[in-house]
Every structure is written in C-alpha cells, then in structure tokens.
C-alpha cells in the first residue's frame, strides 16, 4: 500500500515512533493513519506541501494536540503526551521559528526559565544555573556569556539561545520546524554544524523544511506526507530530488473539480512593475475577463502581501494598475472597491467577516451606497440585496439577522463572497478560499468560482494547495521570495513544475 519503505537499519530501534496516528478537526482529517520513526543520532526530514499535516504532527509530539487515534511509542513503550510538560519530561523538545524569549532577562535565565536549578529553600541556584547554561552553550558551539542580557545579542545569537533553551531539558528528540526560514546563508551553515553536533550527541532530530537543498544536505532519512496521509519514507541517499517531488505532490484522486470551458475575453486588469520596500518586487501581469489566474507559492512568498496592496490595504507600493485600460490610483480599500477590485481574505475571522454583526449588515457593508438614499439606510433594500446574494450562494442560516459569527466556517466564507459579489466587481481576489472549510463547502466554492468566471468575472485565486491550483486555474503565476518566478499556462501545468519553481530548484 505504501510506496517505498526501506527495511534497512532494522537493528536500530527508533527513539520515538508514531503508529496509525489520526487527528480530526471539525470537517477536516488533518492526519489520517500516519506513521513516523525517529532514530538516535539521525536527522529525519519530514516533507510535504502546505497542509500535508506536518505542523499537526509537531503539535502532537509536543503535547499540544491529542491524537484521535493511534499510538505514540517512546523507546518502544506506548506513551501518552497529554501536556507540553509531559512531552518535555519525555525528552521531546521543539525549536520553533519564533520561540518566545525575554529581552530583559539574562541568557542563563532565558535558557532555564521555568525549570531553573534549585538550591536551599527552593531558591534559584544562580551559580549552578550559569554554569549549566555555559555547558549547554559550549556544547552547541555558541560563544555567548550566559550572564549577558538577551537584548544585547544579535538575532543569530538569540536563535542559539532558543536552541540552548530547547536542549536544557535534557532533550533526546529535537524538532526543528523550518529553522532556517529567518537565517542568512552564513547562519544556515552554522546551523548545519550545530545539527552535526546534536547528531554526535546521539539525539534524534526531526527536521521540517521546504527547501530541498537543505534536506539533501542535512537529512539521513525522509518521511513524506500528503493531505494528512503517509506516503513514503526511506533513506535520503537512496532517492533523488525528482522522486521526492513526485511523492510530495502525487495527484490526489479524491478531489473533483468542475469541468469548465474557459471563455476568456479582453484584458480587465493590467499590473505593471508593482514593488514594495520589503514584501515584493517587480510584479507584472495581465488578467482577462472570464479567466481564473492562480497564484502559487510557499507560505511567505509574498502573495497575500501583494494582493492586499492591490486591494489598498498595504501602502507604500509603487507601480501602475490599469482597469479596462484606464490607469487608477488605489490608496485605500475603498478606492479598490470603487475601481472594482475586491478581496476575499484568508483570515475569515478578523479580516473577512465582522462576526458580531448580522449577516445582512455584513453583506451590505461595502454596498451601502446602493441600498441607501442620501446616506440614509433603507432596510427593505438592504434585506433584498442580502436575500438575493445569499440565495445565489445557497447560504444556510436561520435568518438574515443571525450574527455572522454563529455560522460555520464555510457559510461565513459564503457571506464574505456574497458581500463582494453584491458590489458587482470586475476582479475578485480569493486568498486561500477553501482553507479550513469542509470538503462539501470546498466543492461548492470551486463550483461557484467556475460559475463566476463563466459569467465574465476576472478571478485571482491565491492557493497553496496544488490540486486546487491545477484543478481551477487557466494560468498560474508562481511567486518566490516576493518575486514572480514563473508563469505557467494550463497546458504546461504539472505538480512538479509548480514545486520546482516555488522552491527554486
């Protein structure tokens, strides 16, 4: 059933082993019967797309989530990890991208916060703490004075303190979740050396990264997940990049996308050389009527930031935007809405819907000019508009004055989309439109998107899900590190090309 499982190293016993782990969130199976083995003195890379279930596994290993099924074995013994403390006590520790540290405390205090060595009367044994901190820092090759205040250190050294903190609990299993995301080239080299030191100390390391060069440089083993399911594992030296990419993206047969014959018309939106001081640079493209343009990239590629600047939220961007050939200036979301560009954000709870207001008020909020007369509200018109668009989207709710926050995620998303359709836009930008909603609603959103395009709306879809990008897009722009790195037409669209461009390999 599973593609490749190597039988070598059977003499070695995993320190930590997951068997048949399942984790269910409302409407979504985040993990479905997955396995994972971590061996002492070896680095195992966990590989998968966004949404493959990697971060859910990390949260289960660190006691933050409880699995709904399956068993965790530590040293071959079935174990429960009910809390973060329990996980720490079993010697499992995680180095996250943003470990919380305290600027005003000393390095040693940061390392031992919460589990400092105690002396007489239960008071903190300062000299022991400083001595132990120095030992740990030395073991990872960090030349930092444990008595120094943290605020006086640079970013890279702070990162080392975070690592020292993770190791201060006598960890045997170290989880590194995208540890290189914020590091420079030189710092990454230092991190590699550190990983080698940890291996030499016989620690088992779980290394999570999107970057293939890192995986092939540092990892001994790999495990691939896709859509919450285990795909394959084995030794890194027995495979190549191409094989790994294939395992990651292998077509998911469960999802069915609407068949559509694109009816593409004239240019609607022309974006030329849009740049932002820090988030993105030199983005140009043209969008046509009836077209669905996919934007693919890894998390942090700058897609959302770019879209929000197109919608007038992020300022400071330079470049020109034309709608129907007319240059326009967008300084605010109100300007964008007026020009016919609307944005359905990824973060439904805070950006998309105003959950404390009723459904009809959410829907009419950007269209109040239509439903009012001289600035005075006309309730009948408001309800009529809300009724029309909630019916078009097949919204399920008790009444139109139900609070939006009382709806399910999928129905809230419908409210947000209805809100924007009521403004009769020219361009609709959907940012991760199906993230976190159940399969049924997903299909409904996809179908609706196809319908909108068929009616002549120009659609931009930002998505990190490869099946969705391939299933829905007429054309795809791939972004990496704030730049447009590729434009792929529908006929040339394959998972492999998408991943290659997004990861830069």
């Amino acid at each position: 059933m599973h593609a490749t499982t190597t039988q070598s190293n059977s003499h070695q016993v995993p320190v930590l082993s997951l068997h048949g782990i399942t984790k269910i969130f409302p409407g979504v199976k985040a993990l479905d019967d997955v396995k994972l083995n971590l061996y002492p003195g070896e680095v195992t890379a966990l590989v998968g797309e966004n949404g493959a279930g990697k971060s859910t596994v990390v949260k289960i290993l660190t006691g933050i989530y409880q699995p709904d099924g399956g068993t965790i074995y530590v040293d071959g013994t079935a174990t429960h990890l009910p809390t973060a403390q329990a996980a720490a006590a079993m010697g499992i520790t995680a180095i996250h991208q943003e470990t919380v540290l305290f600027d005003e405390l000393s390095v040693a205090e940061n390392i031992f916060l919460g589990h400092a060595p105690r002396g007489v009367f239960g008071l903190i044994d300062r000299s022991a703490m400083v001595r132990k901190a120095a030992e740990i820092l030395k073991s990872i090759g960090a030349e930092i004075d444990p008595a120094q205040r943290l605020r006086d250190l640079g970013i890279a050294n702070k990162h080392l303190v975070a690592i020292a903190r993770a190791l201060s609990t006598d960890a045997r299993v170290v989880i590194m979740d995208e540890p290189t995301a914020a590091l420079s080239h030189k710092e990454i080299q230092e991190l590699y050396e550190l990983v080698e030191k940890l291996k030499a100390q016989n620690k088992a390391i779980l290394f999570i990264s999107h970057k293939f060069d890192e995986i092939f440089h540092i990892a001994d083993r790999f495990t691939v997940y896709r859509d919450g399911q285990f795909v394959a594992d084995g030794r890194v030296d027995e495979i190549n990049e191409g094989e790994l990419v294939k395992m990651m993206v292998g077509r998911n047969v469960n999802q069915i996308f609407p068949t559509r014959v694109p009816n593409i018309g004239k240019d609607v939106l022309e974006v030329d050389n849009m740049s932002h001081p820090t988030e993105f640079a030199g983005i140009s493209f043209t969008l046509r009527r009836g077209e669905i343009l996919g934007f693919y990239g890894l998390v942090g590629a700058g897609r959302s930031e770019f879209m929000q600047s197109l919608f007038g939220i992020t300022h400071a961007a330079t470049g020109t935007i034309k709608i129907d050939g007319e240059p326009i200036t967008i300084r605010s979301s109100a300007d964008a809405t007026q020009a016919g560009i609307v944005y359905v954000p990824e973060d439904r709870g805070t950006q998309g819907a105003i959950t404390a207001l009723p459904i009809f008020q959410n829907i009419t909020l950007p269209s109040l000019k239509q439903t009012s007369k001289n600035g005075f509200i006309r309730l009948a018109e408001e309800f009529a508009l809300a009724r029309e668009y909630t019916q078009r989207l097949d919204l399920r709710a008790a009444s139109l004055d139900t609070l939006t926050g009382n709806l399910s995620g999928g129905n809230q998303q419908k409210v947000v989309i209805a809100k924007w359709l009521a403004t009769q836009p020219k361009v609709i930008i959907l940012d991760e439109p199906t993230k976190g909603i159940d399969i049924g609603s997903k299909a409904a959103v996809h179908e609706f998107m196809a319908e909108l395009a068929a009616q002549g709306l120009a659609v931009i879809m930002v998505s990190s899900e490869i099946p969705e990008i391939i299933g829905m897009s007429d054309r795809v722009i791939v972004m990496r590190e704030g730049r447009r790195v590729a434009e792929i037409s529908r006929s040339e669209l394959t998972p492999e090309t998408l991943v290659r461009h997004a990861a830069g390999i």
């Binding site: 950006q351 819907a353 009724r387 008790a398 004055d401």
Partner: protein, 334 residues
C-alpha cells in the same frame, strides 16, 4: 434550521428576522434603564415635596443637558472603539477663547463662532493624533486634557473673564416657552439628530462595523481613519456647544470651568448601555441615562446632600454601571 426539508430541491429562502423588533427592544438594556429612571423619579417625588414642581423640574434639566450634548457624540466615538477624555478641557479652552474674544469686543455671533471653532480645532487635533500618528486615543486625549486646560490656566491664571454681552445669556439662561429652556430644546434636537445619525445612516453603520472589528471594516472598503476623524471632530464640536451654553449660564470663565466633567460624561455614556470596549450601544440609551444622572444629582441636591457625597454617588454609579450590564447579560442568556 431543522434538516427536515430536502434542502437542495427547495429554493433556500432565509427569513429576514426571526424575533420581531418589538420583542428585541422590550428585552433591551434601554427598557431596564427606563424602569430605573421611573423608579428614581418616584423616589424623588416622595423624598422631597419640592420635586414635583414644573420650575424645579426644569431647573433639574440643567444638571445634564450640557454634559449630554457631549455624551451623544462621545457615545458614537466609544462605539467606534475610541475615546476622548479631553472634552472637559476643550470646554475650558473654548470658554477661555470666548472670554478673550469678549475682551477684544466681540459680539454674540462671533462668540458662538469662536466657541464652536475652538471645539472643532481641538477635536481635529485629537483626531490627527489618533488617526495619523496612530496613538491610542486614551493616551492621546489624556495628554490633550492637560494641554488644553493648561493653556487656559496660562492665559487666565487666577483671573476670570466676565462682561459677556446681555444677549449671550440666552443660550444658558433663556426659555423658549414657559418652563422649556433653550438648553432643553437643544438637548431634544441633538438627541434626535444623533439618534438618526447612529441608527439610520450609512455613517452610523460604519461606526458599528469599526467598533466591532476595525480590521474587518477596513477589509470591507470602509474608510476607517476618515470615520474616526469625523467622530473626533463631532466630539470637539459638541464640547464647543457645551462651552457656549455653560459659559452663558455662568456668565464668566475661569480655567477650572467644567473640571471633572469628562468622567461624568463617560459615566453617562456607559450607563446608557454603550460598551466601553466599543461595538455596541444605542443613542436612546444614552438619552435615558442623561435623565437618570440628572434626576439622581438633583434629588440629592434637594435633600441637601453635600457635593462630596454626590461625587461618591457618581463614583458608585459608574462602578455599578460597568458591573450591571454583565450581570444583565448573564440573566438574559439564562
């Protein structure tokens, strides 16, 4: 909601409302507050034989009218998630400006313009600090509270401006008809205007949206900064209106004028059912709250309760008011 109908076959028609608006308004905070007002009214009429007298009741309205003008605008500002604590200091500065204008020989129309203009300028200053510089409004307006009143003290010291023209007295002392004072008429007019503004216009809808979720409002194409700026302007303007009426009523300006009013005004707004964290509240609630506070202070005055005890009562009222809505919502959701 029950899944009895075969959903995909039948056209999905969602009713507009389930509860009638009457039912919603009867179960509201405003209804409860109205009962409190009636109870205090009855208690007062038993407590003092002088209470149920048309002229005495008319006098009682002066206890809240000027504060209520500001409370109306401040209610909108607080619903939008901001606050202005400098309103009493704006009164002081506007009154000082009018006093200075009198010294320069200005007549009543100019005085009114100076009062309103000073209020608008102060409101604009607060608005710029919050919407342009992004300062938290509570900090910015505590700062301008000291700033505005400080300017008054520098100009006046322990002196006072007097000599306001005779026809200027109409705003604070004039009667439109029998016992109905100009201030009370203005109170009713402003109550209606602000009720319509908050409950019947697109602007009012934007105020609620911003107060509930400023990010969501921004992502819905609302000009959040502009709405907030206008609200600060309105609050400043109303402080100017209150300054005209109060100066006219007192006939003089001292830098200590209206000291401590900001807390009474905030109390009035919160008592009216406005959530101090923003997002909810109604204007009719604030109108009733104005009556409640006026009746309480006037009733205590008739009973010869000294001023220091009155401030204790106001303080207790404020705490009670913050606690009551929480108890009330617990009761309602049972």
């Amino acid at each position: 909601m029950s899944g009895s109908n075969t959903a995909t076959e039948v056209a999905n028609v969602i009713p507009d409302r389930i509860k009638s608006r009457l039912e919603q308004s009867l179960k509201s905070w405003e209804s409860l507050l109205m009962l409190v007002a009636i109870a205090i009214f009855i208690a007062n009429s038993f407590a003092s034989p002088y209470f149920l007298n048309a002229w005495n009741l008319s006098d009682a309205t002066f206890n809240f009218t000027e504060k209520a003008y500001i409370a109306f605008a401040l209610a909108l500002l607080i619903i939008a998630g901001e606050i202005d604590l400098s309103v009493a200091a704006i009164i002081a500065l506007a009154s000082t400006a009018m006093g200075a204008a009198v010294q320069a020989g200005a007549g009543t129309p100019v005085l009114v313009l100076v009062g309103l203009g000073t209020g608008l300028l102060c409101g604009a200053f607060n608005g710029l600090l919050v919407t342009r510089l992004g300062l938290p409004s509570i900090v910015a307006t505590i700062g301008t509270m000291s700033l505005f009143r400080g300017i008054s003290y520098i100009i006046l010291g322990d002196q006072a401006y007097r000599g306001y023209p005779a026809d200027f007295a109409f705003f604070g002392q004039g009667y439109v008809f029998w016992v109905i004072s100009f201030e009370f008429v203005l109170f009713v007019l402003l109550a209606i205007v602000y009720s319509i503004l908050l409950h019947k216009t697109n602007f009012g809808r934007a105020v609620y949206a911003i107060g509930n979720n400023p990010t969501g409002a921004l992502f819905s194409g609302i000009r959040v900064a502009r709405v907030k700026f206008i609200l600060f302007l309105l609050t400043g303007l109303m402080a100017g209106v209150a300054a005209i009426c109060l100066t006219s009523r007192l006939g003089s300006t001292r830098p200590s004028i209206a000291t401590g009013w900001e807390l009474e005004i905030v109390t009035m707004v919160v008592l009216g059912g406005v959530n101090i964290l923003g997002g909810s509240g109604t204007l009719p609630g604030v109108v009733i709250a104005a009556f409640v506070m006026g009746l309480v202070t006037f009733g205590l005055g008739l009973l010869n309760v000294p001023g220091i005890v009155m401030s204790i009562v106001i303080g207790a009222l404020l705490i009670g008011v913050i606690a009551l809505p929480r108890l009330w919502s617990k009761w309602k959701h049972r």
